[in-house]
C-alpha cells in the first residue's frame, strides 16, 4: 500500500467528483440528524401512536390527519418515522464505534511499532488471533460476554474493529520509525509519548484512514444483524435492524411493508457507504479489489 503522510493527503489538490453514493450518504446523515424535525410522528411517544391503526398498508390516512406514507407497524407506529429514528440510532452506534476503534487501533499500532519487544508481541498476537476469526464470531462472543444495551454494542463493535487499524498502522509505523526525523526527535530527548503521538502517529495513519469508510459499512451491517437477532439495541428504541426484526413475524401474513422499507433504508445506507469506501480505496491503492 502506498504510504503517504496525512499532511500530503490534506494538501492534495481536490479532485472531487459528486457521485450518487456520496449524495446518498450525505442525505442519510442529514435525515438522521433532522429525524425529530422531519418525521411526521415521534415513534417513541405513546401519545402520538394510535394502536387501532396498527398494520395499516402504505398510503393510509391516519385518524390524526396525516398520511402513513409507508404504512404502520404492528404497534401502530408510522414506518417512515421509525425509519428516520432508527437511522439515527444505527448511524450513531456505527459512527461512534468506528471512530473509537480507529483511534484505539491506530494508537495501539503505533505504540506496538515504537516500543517493539514484548509490547509489540503482545499487541500483534492479539491482532493476529482476532483477525483470524470471522467478525461475526468475534461479535457474538463479545456480545454474549457483554450483554445487551447501546453502550455494550458500541463496545462490542470496537472490539471487533480495532485490530484491522492496528495491523495497518503498525506496518507503516515500522518503516517510519527508522527515518531520520524520529532519530532527531529521540536525540532531543522528547518523552516517548510525545514522539509516538506527535511525530510517529500523524505520519503513519494515512493508509488506516482509508479503512474507515469500509469499516463503517461493516459496523452498520453488524449492528443491524445483532439487533435483528435480539442481541443489539433494546427493542423500545429500535435501530433499522430491530425495525426489520419487528416486521419479520408479519411477513408471513403478507404485511410486507413493516420489514421491507426499514430494510431498504438499511440496504441503501450500507450500499452508499460501501461505494464511497470503494472509491476511496481505489484512489489510494489501485491494485486492491
Amino acid at each position: 500500500m502506498k504510504t503517504e503522510t496525512l499532511w500530503a493527503f490534506w494538501k492534495r489538490p481536490a479532485t472531487y467528483r459528486v457521485t450518487l453514493p456520496k449524495l446518498m450518504a450525505v442525505a442519510y446523515v442529514l435525515l438522521a440528524i433532522l429525524a425529530s424535525v422531519i418525521a411526521p410522528q415521534n415513534p417513541y411517544d405513546p401519545l402520538q401512536i394510535f394502536a387501532w391503526e396498527a398494520s395499516s398498508p402504505p398510503g393510509t390516512v391516519s385518524g390524526g390527519g396525516y398520511l402513513y406514507l409507508l404504512g404502520t407497524d404492528g404497534l401502530g407506529r408510522d414506518i417512515l418515522s421509525t425509519v428516520f429514528y432508527g437511522l439515527r440510532i444505527s448511524l450513531f452506534v456505527a459512527v461512534t464505534s468506528t471512530v473509537l476503534a480507529a483511534l484505539i487501533g491506530m494508537s495501539l499500532g503505533v505504540i506496538a511499532a515504537y516500543l517493539g519487544r514484548w509490547a509489540d508481541a503482545l499487541i500483534m498476537r492479539i491482532v493476529d488471533l482476532q483477525l483470524s476469526l470471522p467478525t461475526m464470531l468475534v461479535a457474538l462472543i463479545a456480545i454474549v460476554t457483554l450483554g445487551p444495551g447501546v453502550d455494550r454494542i458500541i463496545l462490542a463493535l470496537v472490539i471487533v474493529q480495532w485490530a484491522a487499524y492496528a495491523r495497518v498502522t503498525r506496518g507503516v509505523a515500522m518503516s517510519e520509525a527508522s527515518k531520520a526525523y524520529l532519530d532527531a526527535a529521540r536525540l532531543l530527548r522528547l518523552p516517548p509519548w510525545r514522539i509516538i503521538f506527535r511525530h510517529l502517529l500523524p505520519n503513519s495513519i494515512a493508509p488506516a484512514i482509508t479503512l474507515i469508510p469500509i469499516e463503517l459499512g461493516h459496523a452498520v451491517a453488524l449492528e443491524a444483524t445483532l439487533s435483528f437477532l435480539g442481541l443489539g439495541v433494546p427493542i423500545d428504541k429500535p435501530s433499522l435492524g430491530s425495525a426489520v426484526a419487528n416486521g419479520f413475524q408479519y411477513l408471513m401474513t403478507g404485511q410486507y411493508w413493516i420489514s421491507l422499507f426499514p430494510g431498504l433504508a438499511l440496504f441503501g445506507l450500507i450500499a452508499s457507504i460501501n461505494f464511497v469506501g470503494e472509491d476511496v480505496r481505489r484512489r489510494f491503492d489501485p491494485r486492491s479489489l
Binding site: R125, D128, L129, S132, L133, P134, M136, L137, L140, I141, V144, T145, L146, G147, G217, A221, A224, T225, F228, L229, G230, L231, G241, V244, A245, F248, L251, M252, G254, Y256, S259, L260, G263, L266, F267, I270, A271, N274, F275, E278, R287, S288, L289
Partner: protein, 323 residues
C-alpha cells in the same frame, strides 16, 4: 515447516484458552440461569437452592472454570440446562444440518463466483465488467437477514414455490440425517442456501476478477495467445491455475465464516443447525450449550484455515519449494 506448524497450533491453542476464560467470565456476569429453570412465581428459596446445587453453581467461580476446562479437554461441556442432554453431543447432532447448508451454499457460490470473475476480468472495463463489479458491491451490502427475508417474501409468500422454513424430509445416511437426498429437503434447502451464497458469489467474483486482470497482463498469457491457443483454453488452463491460491483461501475462510454467519440465516429459515441452537441458547441462558457451540465454531474455523494453508502446497509448487 514443522516449527511453523507447531507455532501456529500453540498460538491457536492460546487463543482458544483466552477465549474460554473471557467467555466463561462474561456469560456468568450476564444472568443467573437458575431463574430460567425454576418457575419464578412459585419457587421457594429452598427450590432455588436445590436447583443451584444441582447445576453446580454454588461453587466458587474459579472452581467452576477449572471443572469446565478439565471437562472441555475431554470433550465434555456439561449438560444442557434446557434439553438435559450433553452439550457437546447436542452441538454435534445439529452439525450435519449446518454443514449441509454451508456446503450447498458453497457449491452454488464457488463456481458461479469464479465464472463471473473470469468473465469480468477478461472483459475489463466493458459494460459487463462494470455491471458485475457494481452488482457485487450491492450484493455485499445487503444485510444477510434482510436478504433472507426478501427471499422468503418472493420465493415463499408471493409465489409459493419454496417452503419458508424447516428442513423438510430427511433421509438417514451413515447414521446422520440429511435433507439434500429428498426432493422436499432440497426445496427447503434452496432459499437458505441462496441467502448464504449470494454475498459469497460477489466476494469470490471480485477476487477472481482482480486476479484475472493481473495474470492476463503478464507475458506468459501473451505467449499463449501467440501460440494460437483458444481464449477458453488460456482462461481455464493457464489463467485459472495461476489465481487459484487466493481463491482457495477465500473459499476456505468463507466456509468457516458460513458456520458463524449461518446464525442469521438459520434463525430466519428455522433451520435446525448449530447457528439456531446458539441463538436459542443465548436467549435461554443455556450456558453449557453456548460455550460448546462457540468453542466448536472457533476450533472448526482455526482448523479449516490450517487445512487451507496445507492445501497451498498442493496448488502452488512455489510455496512447496520455499517451505
Amino acid at each position: 515447516m514443522t516449527t511453523t506448524i507447531i507455532g501456529r497450533l500453540s498460538q491457536a491453542f492460546l487463543l482458544l484458552l483466552a477465549m474460554s476464560i473471557i467467555g466463561f467470565a462474561g456469560i456468568h456476569s450476564v444472568g443467573n440461569p437458575v431463574f430460567n429453570i425454576v418457575n419464578v412465581e412459585t419457587a421457594t428459596p429452598e427450590d432455588i437452592r436445590r436447583a443451584t446445587i444441582a447445576l453446580g453453581l454454588d461453587q466458587p467461580l474459579w472452581q467452576q472454570y477449572f471443572l469446565f476446562l478439565g471437562n472441555v479437554v475431554s470433550g465434555n461441556f456439561g449438560t444442557s440446562y434446557i434439553y438435559h442432554l450433553p452439550a457437546f453431543r447436542l452441538v454435534m447432532s445439529k452439525l450435519p444440518a449446518t454443514f449441509e447448508l454451508a456446503a450447498i451454499a458453497m457449491l452454488i457460490a464457488a463456481p458461479s463466483g469464479v465464472l463471473l470473475g473470469l468473465l469480468a476480468g477478461r472483459r475489463k472495463d466493458t459494460l459487463l465488467d462494470r455491471t458485475i463489479l457494481n452488482s457485487s458491491v450491492f450484493a455485499l451490502s445487503v444485510p444477510s437477514f434482510w436478504l433472507s427475508m426478501l427471499l422468503i417474501m418472493v420465493g415463499a409468500v408471493m409465489t409459493g414455490w419454496f417452503p419458508s422454513g424447516g428442513r423438510g424430509e430427511t433421509v438417514a445416511l451413515f447414521g446422520v440425517t440429511w435433507s439434500f437426498l429428498t426432493a422436499s429437503g432440497l426445496a427447503h434447502l434452496a432459499l437458505p442456501a441462496l441467502a448464504l451464497a449470494i454475498p459469497n458469489i460477489a466476494l469470490i467474483a471480485r477476487l477472481t476478477r482482480s486476479g484475472t486482470v493481473e495474470v492476463e497482463a503478464q507475458d506468459f498469457t501473451r505467449f499463449c495467445q501467440a501460440k494460437g491457443l483458444s481464449p477458453r483454453r488460456i482462461l481455464f488452463r493457464h489463467t485459472l491455475p495461476n489465481i487459484s491460491v487466493p481463491i482457495v483461501t477465500i473459499i476456505g475462510m468463507q466456509f468457516g465464516g458460513m458456520l458463524a454467519f449461518a446464525v442469521v440465516v438459520e434463525s430466519i429459515f428455522n433451520w435446525p443447525g448449530i447457528g439456531k441452537l446458539l441463538i436459542d441458547s443465548i436467549q435461554l441462558l443455556d450456558r453449557p450449550v453456548v460455550m460448546a457451540t462457540l468453542t466448536f465454531v472457533a476450533v472448526a474455523f482455526v482448523g479449516l484455515n490450517a487445512l487451507v494453508d496445507i492445501f497451498y502446497a498442493v496448488l502452488d509448487p512455489r510455496t512447496r519449494r520455499s517451505a
